[in-house]
Amino acid sequence: MEISDALRRVSTGLPAAPGPAGPLAPGRRAPAIAVTGIEPGGVRLDDLAGRGAALLLFVSEECPTSALAVRNLGPLCRAWESAGLSATAVFEDPLDVALRVARTLGWTGRVVSQDPPYQTSREYGLLAVPTAFLVGGDRIIAASVVGWNQPALADLVAKGAALVGSGPLPAPPATEPLLKPGCSSKAAMDPEVAAAVSRPAAADEMEEMFERGWTDGLPVVPPTRQRVEAMLGGADASSSLGPVPPSMGEATLERVAACAVLAGCRPAYFPVVLAAARAILDPAFNLHGQAVTTQPAGQLVVVNGPVRQALGLNSGMGALGPGSRPNLTIGRAIRLLVTLLGGGMPGTLDRATLGHMGKVGFCVAEDEETSPWEPLHVERGFDPDQSVVTLIGSDAPQNISDHRSRTPEDLAYILAWAAATAWSTNWWPLAEPSVFVICPEHAEMFRAAGWSKQQLREFMFDAVRKPAADLRRGETTPVVARADPADMIGKWASPESIVLLVAGGEAGRYSAVLGPCTGMGAQIISREVEPL
């Protein structure tokens, strides 16, 4: 009896069946691989080894030794990759299972999967998992290690470093256990036994979304093809809105629709999401700067026009808070576009020191019916019956309570001075917009007094001034630094830096101001909501 037969009997308890004869030895030519990965177009061995050398780690989900190998080697893959040694975990499991296990165990290399009858494992002669192969750029096997064998794996990595001509590469940690036998490869099992030990796919679809990284940290709606097609509503899935900064992922409508599904949007919201996406991708919005800055800036979506009623957007009670699906999910879809497709995920390319909750999603509808003034989109040149989104880089809202003012002057003074600390106590003047959300009771006082929007804006602009001498503690602006001590400095560079909206519940004298995103040269951008 050959050794392979003996091993097969031990590992499966079944009589010998035609199967692998033992791992291919160094010096043999590495067979092609027949595997599935998340990359479109498949995975070829030449691509893996082409930049220097490839490490193939055959594993399976059910095997504790495989888990040990994936956990210990996983964090090292990126360093190997940057030196030209690619690292690929070849699972004998469905791809969704492989991705989940790899993410859970911290594998940072490529993940691929084999279907029964595990042809690639067979051609590499696998009897056990884990088994590691080092394949040179010439497709010749340079080394192999069966089971968990830390010294042998360290030696294999050293050989890999020599193949790619790099200095020493990080080796697996010399922590116990140094040696651990593996488990039977499914390629070496009776097919019925292999099928029996394979787990059913996608045991928990919601958890899988986290494992794929398709989330902002909250549960998402899985973007099935059916849901994405419903979101697209017949629009051309492959047409593109352009690259999304900062990582410049291509915003095909299909991917934008996937973000909208993940966010929880209904298909009816998609035209609003698309209009907002077009707005943030206008170079004048400087999404690149907003997405990567250490500032807390988020992307505020303001919705005006008939689409508010058509979709049921909330502009009333709790207008800046929870409770309304279209507000929350439209804002979230835009942020998922930035974080997933644009790569602006906090902690990676998004370097925000603190961020704020509006970066989960931030969408407000203006209460045009209660407002005494022309709505924002009309100010910006649109007709009242057009539906428009306006995107503004903005900080978190700060509440402004005023239940005692009895004149519009007093109220305007209170509102304006609440913004004196926007951005920073002594950062005057601000060129970028401060957005005031005026509540209906406050708005009513200005209506009763006959104040126009521009009149209020100019009053607020004139009201907030201080001598330069009072603004010279800590960080301040070049304007303040250059001014004479007695010069009066305004909080804003012009009245146009004050944006006024009306929204909120009918009772309660609470307005809010949202500070700016500064230093970006970021403009306010409006786009009409168009049919698909």
């Binding site: 599935t36 791809l95 299972v97 059913p200 899985p222 093809r225 996937a258 700067g289 997933l340």
Partner: protein, 97 residues
């Protein structure tokens, strides 16, 4: 259900194209006689920092020149990148505040 069926069932929000990592440029042993671009990204106090770096590089024999981005929060204009590539062997970018 096969793995393939499972994968096809979802539409990825990611741009899944794999971009090969750019290899790092070869590091010189010395800056003597090297042409070095000093890129001011217009961040606050970046100029002071570059002044110090420039004096040390010049003391080491480097041939330096200054160039600036329009604004720190946007990627450098292609013309700026082209000029750095055309005129220098090395580049130093200053981030400051």
């Amino acid at each position: 259900m096969t793995a393939d069926d499972t994968v096809r069932d979802y539409i990825s929000p990611f741009d899944e194209r794999v971009r090969p990592a750019e290899p790092l440029a070869v590091r010189p042993d010395s800056v003597a006689s090297a042409r070095i671009a000093l890129l001011d990204i217009t961040k606050n106090r970046g100029t002071e920092f570059l002044d110090r770096v420039e004096s040390q590089l010049q003391a080491a024999g480097a041939d330096t020149f200054r160039i600036a981005k329009e604004i720190f929060s946007k990627p450098a204009a292609p013309a700026v990148i082209d000029e750095i590539a055309a005129r220098s062997d090395l580049a130093v970018e200053a981030l400051a505040d």
